[in-house]
């Protein structure tokens, strides 16, 4: 078998991004920054899809992560990015471990809809909480990283950008290793044939539960990084359309490789951003058509473009 180029690409890609950062136009830097936050969440979706379940409620953890980070600043006046990320991980891990106990029993559309219900309940609760700005949300001043103040300095943007790149890299490497481990194989086996997995002595529900927690934590990290990058959070992050977008990007990108979600998220954000600019009245139509084209002609997602070429070469 030929060697899998994923890791080299991840390393090279991250180095390029880190090196390129300072020279990029700032809007591009921000676009990449936000895309990678998305990409990290979609990495989690990829794991779920590999396991054969799809969540229409991952906005729940995207939002929880963001609010975990945000409330630290808002309520406890802690505005250190490092602490925020830790908080996001803890909160989402606990929440998903608990909800996973229920969701592990569900499949298909029911898994999707029950997770949707949970995320919409969080949405409702947040909209009711005027202390956290209700539907307006609030601004997050993540001014320090590991004690060093960056807010207002010349490198402010770059630090947030670099932080995201690094986390995207870590998440990517982790997910790559994980998918190629026994657990990763087991996930695909479950997608193919749960019955046989049980008849080989592994607990389908445990695997789904573990993978659900992992994907939730990734979503939480993505949310926290988004809060840090964007500087504002609101309950929309938990609304079903946000979760829908994650699935959207997941399918758009394809589950062929951990590179797909990261790249897919970037392409999605770019399409959306330019659709907004060039057809402000029909950008939804543009998105919809893109999506149909991909589903129709690239069932493996955009990623299959790369793999196809590789086969051809």
């Amino acid at each position: 078998m030929k060697r899998d180029p994923t890791l080299p690409i991840l390393i090279a890609g991250s180095i390029i991004l880190l090196a390129l950062g300072p020279f990029l136009p700032r809007w591009a830097m921000f676009l990449i920054n936000v895309s990678l936050c998305y990409g990290i969440v979609v990495l989690g979706m990829l794991l779920l899809m590999r396991t054969g379940v799809v969540s229409f409620g991952h906005g729940l953890y995207y939002c929880l992560g963001a609010y975990a980070a945000g409330t630290l600043d808002q309520v406890f006046k802690i505005s250190d990015m490092a602490v925020m990320l830790v908080a996001a991980v803890i909160v989402t891990a606990l929440a998903s471990a608990a909800l996973g106990l229920l969701l592990r029993k569900y499949r298909d559309i029911f898994f999707a809809m029950l997770s949707l219900a949970f995320s919409m309940i969080l949405y409702g609760l947040l909209v009711k909480t005027s202390a956290l700005g209700s539907s307006d949300g609030f601004n997050v001043a993540a001014s320090k990283i590991a004690g060093i103040t960056v807010a207002g300095t010349a490198v402010d943007r770059y630090v947030r950008y670099a932080l995201t790149v690094v986390f995207a890299f870590i998440a990517g490497v982790f997910m790559h290793k994980y998918l190629n481990s026994h657990m990763g194989r087991l996930a695909e086996a479950i997608r193919d044939n749960e019955l046989r997995v049980e008849y080989m002595g592994a607990s389908v529900r445990n695997v789904i539960h573990v993978n659900y927690v992992i994907s939730a934590v990734l979503a939480g990290i993505g949310g926290a990084l988004a809060a840090i990058a964007v500087g504002h959070i609101d309950p929309e992050m938990a609304y079903w359309t946000t979760s829908g977008e994650f699935v959207f990007v997941g399918i758009l990108a394809g589950t062929g490789s951990v590179l797909a979600p990261l790249l897919g998220a970037f392409i999605f954000e770019t399409i959306r951003s330019f659709a907004y600019e060039y057809s402000p009245n029909t950008w939804q139509m543009a998105l919809g058509i893109t999506m149909l084209v991909v589903i129709m002609f690239l069932p493996g997602g955009l990623w299959s473009l790369f793999t196809r070429k590789r086969k051809a070469a």
Partner: protein, 430 residues
């Protein structure tokens, strides 16, 4: 190995795509006209009543300015002779998206000024970004006091007064006309705007009339459309007054469903943001409804050369007269023009000079005099007005209009709305 390389290249190329697409935008930088980014709702429920009227008005104003056809003191072409160019962006999609879009407007579209944002959530979110981008950004229609009461900004201005006065003047008007009011019920959308409006209004009422009883607070979700149960609950609450900050389709649906059920023969209705609704004649708005326009705008704009001008140029492009968002956007353009030309007159057109000129300026607008008196000269204040609907030979109009001067309805600089209301709304020094 070479597969690795080729993949690597592909990866790099895709990532560079962003940088490349920057090229056209950068070229635009050398264009002559002043580029103004206009962010307003083009889709979603807020487009019809707010976003699109604002857009129509903005385009009409820009054309008039470029043609130099605006009444004094705004007769000079464009801004100080330089023509204007609009870049319109949809505000739909949530605060997070708006932050991204603002960056694109400024850094990719290279606009010189940004005028925009109807949703309070978006305003709160974009203000710090505008600050970071060091780009003069004018919030033209959002109402939440939080923007300048919780923070202070150098590059952010708001040329319309904040929402506190909607509640204060509304309550005053109500009590002046219905002194005997004993019970109050409300129906407001379940999101920040609705919650704040209700909280403010009840706070004011409790200060002005402590013995008042609050019967029920209905909080249907935004865009619910079906209000059967809510209306029954309101009917059964037998409230003397029903307060509502509903707007757009929700307001219209609520009116359609509540009127035939005689809710408004039972209770006095006060709509703090009802004005745009008057322009849309859905057929049923009971006489005696108290209507606010969140400022002396729309139907409350007093006759003046500027007002006639706005009404004319707007009517040329739409089938009805401008509503208050149209007036808000006019305030933004004229306020900015004033500051720009003042700075130019002093011979320096740097951002800082324009800001200097903008702070604490006061200027005429179709809805009267606007003074940048709050938020260290970044937050506008005006008086406001309320009136009552009545049908005159088939036409719904507002009568019994009462104007309230700034000091009665707005807290002075440095005092938070909440505290000011609690403290009994003492007129401050202006």
């Amino acid at each position: 190995m070479n597969t690795q390389v080729s993949k690597l290249l592909k990866c790099g190329v895709t990532l560079l795509a962003a940088a490349l697409t920057a090229a056209p935008a950068i070229c635009n930088a050398q264009d002559k006209p002043i580029r103004i980014g206009l962010v307003t709702f083009l889709s979603g429920p807020a487009a019809g009543p707010f976003g699109v009227p604002a857009k129509i008005a903005a385009e009409a104003i820009v054309d008039a300015l470029n043609a130099g056809k605006v009444p004094a003191p705004y007769a000079t072409r464009g801004f100080g002779g330089t023509p204007l160019e609009l870049v319109v962006v949809d505000e739909a999609g949530g605060a997070t998206k708006q932050v991204t879009e603002l960056r694109n407007l400024v850094e990719r579209q290279n606009v010189d000024f940004v005028i925009g944002f109807i949703s309070s959530g978006d305003c709160v979110a974009v203000a710090p970004v505008a600050e970071e981008l060091k780009k003069i950004t004018i919030l033209f229609d959002c109402g939440t006091p939080r923007v300048f009461e919780d923070a202070s900004y150098k590059y952010v201005f708001r040329t319309r007064p904040h929402a506190t006065m909607d509640a204060v003047a509304g309550a005053m008007y109500l009590l002046e006309n219905r002194p005997a009011v004993k019970s109050l019920g409300g129906i407001n959308q379940n999101y920040a705007w609705g919650q704040d409006s209700w909280a403010d209004f009840t706070a004011v009422m409790e200060t002005l009339k402590p013995e008042l009883t609050i019967t029920t607070s209905q909080m249907p979700k935004f865009g619910a459309g079906q209000y059967g149960p809510e209306i029954s609950a309101l009917l059964q609450s037998n409230s003397d007054v029903i307060h509502s900050s509903l707007w757009g389709g929700d307001l219209e649906a609520f009116m359609l469903q509540a009127t035939p059920r005689n809710l408004f023969t039972r209770s006095q209705l006060i709509l703090v943001a009802g004005e745009p609704y008057l322009h849309r004649l859905p057929g049923s708005i009971p006489d005696g409804t108290i209507i606010g326009a969140r400022g002396p705008s729309g139907v409350y704009a007093q006759k003046s050369v500027l007002n006639d001008w706005l009404r004319t140029i707007y009517k040329e492009r739409a089938e009805n007269y401008p509503n208050y968002p149209a007036y808000s956007v006019a305030q933004a353009f004229l306020g900015l023009k004033t500051a720009y030309e003042k700075a130019k007159a002093q011979g320096a057109l740097g951002t800082d000079e324009i800001i200097k000129a903008f702070e604490y300026e006061s200027f005429d607008s179709p809805s009267g005099k606007v003074m940048m008196k709050l938020g260290k000269g970044h937050q506008a204040v005006t008086g406001t007005a309320y009136g009552t609907t009545r049908t005159v030979n088939g036409q719904i109009t507002v009568g019994n209009i009462k104007y309230y001067p700034v000091e009665r309805v707005q807290p002075p600089e440095g005092v938070k709305s909440v505290d000011w209301i609690k403290a009994g709304m003492k007129p401050g020094k202006w």
